[in-house]
Amino acid sequence: MAALHELSLCEAAARVRRRDVSSVELTRAALARIEAVEPRVDAFLTVSRDEALAAAADVDRRVAAGEDVGALAGVPVGVKDIICTAGIRTTAGSKILERFVPSYDATVTARLKRAGAVVVGKLNCDEFAMGSSNENSAYKPARNPWSADRVPGGSSGGSGASVAALECHAALGTDTGGSIRLPAAYCGVVGLKPTYGRVSRYGVVAYASSLDQVGPLARDVTDAAMVLEAIAGHDPRDSTSSPRPVPSYLTQLEGGVRGLRLGLPREYFVEGMQPEVEAAVREAVRLLEDLGAHVEPVSLPHTEHAIATYYLIATAEASANLARYDGVRYGLRTPAKVLGEMYDTSRAAGFGAEVKRRIMLGTYALSAGYYDAYYLKAQQVRTLIRRDFEQALARCDALVTPVAPTTAFRLGEKTDDPLTMYLSDILTISVNLAGLPGLVVPCGVDKGGLPIGLQIVGRPFDESTALRIGAAYEGATDWHRRRAPL
């Protein structure tokens, strides 16, 4: 019989509800696992042991009283440290928020709790979610559970690593240009970036407001669907959240792919792609065909402009979003004699190199005389990219693509070359610009045993179809059952 920390979220919640196991037992098992493997993984920035055990005990009391404790009944989960948790430090991976303890929960945190989940801690990430390897964390790089010298991907590296390392049963990440999907692919877990507007951003430390979305990282598609169902839906505190009703994702997982039309974007098999990645993805597509899907080539002709577009829009928004970290009301303040000096030294000491780089880039893109050539032009190209997807998805129910050109790279391999690092997101970034849902499921390993992911891109607000395709693929393969050698 599997150890408690090995159970899927779905199975663990069912057992809590059946009173086969208590939430406190599950939580203790997760905390023990964290203690055992964390020195090797570095997935957590804060472990909220006492709060977690108290929350678990509360769930157990309510189960004993016969109350409905929610779909995620007493199951330990992790939350990316860019998502606010009332009473628990939230650093966004930055020194500037090292001692920041929010007085409020993000809407997604509150919804997780309402669904019965137990938050065991805050997960490592690139500072303000800016990065593709988690090496921009101001505290420590998280490491890939499959190989200690490899990155887990970023920016939600701690989320991917903690799920792959079985430290929690699922985790929340955020995805602005691939930050859920890349760690999911590199760590061999399932990750879902929902449609922009499907999940509230209230209480999520903003990086790029028109691109950021919260989503689950989980051990299988079912668990991801459960978490999404718990956190999705309109939030009166987020004007950009959609009022569309949330479907029951869990009940729509069955049904297979027979008759579905899947598009294979020709621009997504890029020059220099690791051959094993391309082979694994093509093999996965063949399997989906075998399962009854129609696969056809499609074109997304503006793909080549996605990275440039993203690095103008995201950095422009970030330059404004990060202005509030000024040392006045909260966060790091360095002693200074005059106001200007206080701003300069606090921000110089509090922000890391990549964050500063993006603030400068974004400030420049919005400056008088450059706005039209950069920010405005980028918005126009964004419209073209969105139209590419609209056209492709008018004919297809979903698109299937690789997630990244390679498997997890080595720690330090790209830190000296930001542009090479930016290219890690080349296959995920367009999906954010188009605001679409993107699901990643494990679909193979390279010869070093490192996981490879398959990306399934759906129509707006059609997470159901992407999840159904993922579930069908998962049903026919065992990749998601492989465990990292810890």
């Binding site: 998502i83 606010c84 939230t90 966004a92 928020l97 920041f100 929010p102 007085s103 409020y104 993000a106 951003r201 209230y202 209480g203 999520v204 430390v205 903003a206 790029a208 407001s209 028109s210 009166p236 505190r237 987020d238 004007s239 950009t240 422009a316 928004e317 330059s319 404004a320 990060l322 202005a323 509030r324 000024d326 006045v328 009301r329 909260y330 106001l339 701003y343 400030t363 919005l366 400056s367 008088a368 706005y371 920010y375």
Partner: protein
């Protein structure tokens, strides 16, 4: 300093009006003025990490009201934008404002200057959030920040550069304040900063069309200050124009103590605000039906009321203007008419008696005066009692303080205290005979042709009747007796 006749000023005004909504523009905190520091705050208006703005519908409604009242087009689609700059009172490091797509575009105001109506164009009206307030010198070396005002809704109302004189600028500002007070969207208090005005001033040789170098003047906190600052700038710039000194495009601050403007920052030092569309808010869509609904709810505005008073009640344009500057005063006037007071008499009593007390006691600090010295019904009754000859004017004036805070019918008070004027000729004849006997010198003067001495003699009779004599009758009886 005064302007040279060969020089013409070009003036445009930017007004910030703090709106009287209960809640702030992007969160549920109270927008009330004057609470203890940092009590009307929440994570949203403090700019904490991760929080998001949600637009207060009422603010949009107020903006539509202002736009319709000033003949603007209400944009079906408008958009908020971020205005980026660092300052401790600005918690997010940007102000949510509107930039390329404001909600109201292209209206005008009609203002009365020297009895003539002038039309002043409006460029735009947009919504934005107010900042907090820095407090210096209260805590040693440190400055403190009060965020109660952070997120209080503002309308920025921008005029075209259509004004040419200080008087026009003053009239525009007063008319605008009157309108927003009629709309009950802003209390219009310049001293408390709920109605703020910056002026753009330039000068040019009269008869030329090209605009001179523009100077923006800030920091005026009264109508007088706005007028003085503009007058100062016109004189300063006019002098420069005459002497050929080059003017700088800059922002200047009005120093109320020294009554002068001084440089704050030059064009080169001006901020680049790096405006871009606010991604946390959807584009604002205002359906026609909403605009129509707001239009139906608009009150009759001052200009229209003023015209009606001249036309229908025969008031002078000046009197009509005084009565209509405040909606509550105009309403009071109309309530007196409804109670049977003749229009001209009602207007006189309001302007000479009622408004004097209102100003002395600063009752007009309130957006809507509720604590009137006496009700419109009471004043109407007083006016009628005078008209009917029951009491004389002075008796009526003397009754005003006694009616204060009561629901007493003035007629009952007059009757109970025997204040009715003496109109009995027999009673007056005795008093007249007595006065003639006591003042032979004045009587002789009158008889020798000094008619104005009659005033003195009437006064003596009034005194003898304890002020209750009917003055017209007294004079009649006197003249007859002296005849």
């Amino acid at each position: 300093m005064s302007a040279h006749p060969d020089i013409e000023a070009v003036i445009g005004l930017e007004v910030h009006a703090e709106l009287l909504t209960r809640a702030k523009i992007f969160c549920g905190c109270s927008a009330a003025f004057g609470g203890p520091p940092n009590t009307n705050v929440c994570p949203v208006c403090l700019g904490m990490p991760g929080v998001l703005p949600v637009l207060n519908r009422r603010v949009v409604e107020f903006a539509i009201r202002a736009g319709l009242a000033t003949h603007c087009d209400i944009a079906e689609r408008s958009r908020f934008a971020r205005k980026n700059y660092f300052y401790p009172d600005l918690p997010k490091g940007y102000q949510i404002s509107m930039y390329e797509l404001p909600i109201c575009i292209g209206g005008y105001l009609e203002v009365l200057v020297d009895g003539e109506t002038r039309r002043i164009g409006l460029t735009r009206i947009h919504m934005e959030e107010d900042t907090g307030k820095n407090i210096h010198d209260a805590h040693g070396d440190a400055s403190l920040v009060d965020f109660n005002r952070s997120g209080v809704p503002l309308l920025e109302i921008v005029s075209e550069p259509d004004m040419r004189t200080v008087e026009e600028a003053g009239a525009y500002l007063r008319t605008l304040r009157s309108i927003i007070q009629y709309l009950e969207i802003c209390d219009g208090n310049m001293e408390e900063g709920s109605f703020r005005c910056d002026a753009n001033v330039s000068v040019r040789p009269r008869g030329t069309a090209a605009l001179g170098t523009k100077v923006e003047v800030k920091n005026m906190n009264s109508f007088r200050a706005v007028e003085k600052a503009i007058a100062f700038e016109i004189a300063r710039q006019g002098e420069a124009l005459r002497t050929g000194e080059k003017l700088r495009q800059e922002t200047r601050l009005w120093d109320a103590d020294r009554e002068e403007t001084r440089p704050m920052r030059s064009k080169e030092q001006a901020h680049d605000y790096r405006y871009f569309p606010e991604p946390d808010l959807l584009p604002l869509v205002v359906p026609r039906a909403w605009v129509d609904e707001v239009r139906r709810g608009l009150p009759e505005l001052p200009a229209r009321r003023r015209d009606r008073y001249v036309r229908a009640h025969g008031l002078s344009p000046y009197d009509a203007d005084v009565l209509t500057q405040r909606k509550d005063v105009a309403d009071y006037f109309e309530a007196m008419l409804a109670d049977g007071a003749p229009a001209k008499e009602a207007a006189n009593w309001i302007m000479t008696e009622l408004l004097r007390i209102v100003r002395e006691e600063k009752l007009d600090d309130a957006l809507v005066i509720r604590d009137w010295p006496l009700s419109a019904a009471q004043l109407a009754k007083l006016v009628r009692l005078v008209q009917e000859g029951t009491i004389n004017r002075n008796t009526a004036k003397g009754l005003i303080p006694r009616l204060r805070g009561t629901a007493t019918d003035p007629a009952e008070l007059v009757q109970a205290e025997g204040l009715g004027q003496v109109s009995d000729v027999g009673a007056l004849e005795a008093a007249v005979a007595d006065v003639i006997a006591r003042h032979p010198a004045q009587v002789a003067e009158f008889r020798s042709g000094k008619d104005r001495v009659i005033g003195f003699l009437v006064g003596q009779v009034m005194k003898a009747t304890k002020g209750k004599g009917n003055p017209q009758l007294v004079q009649e009886v006197l003249r007859k007796a002296l005849g």
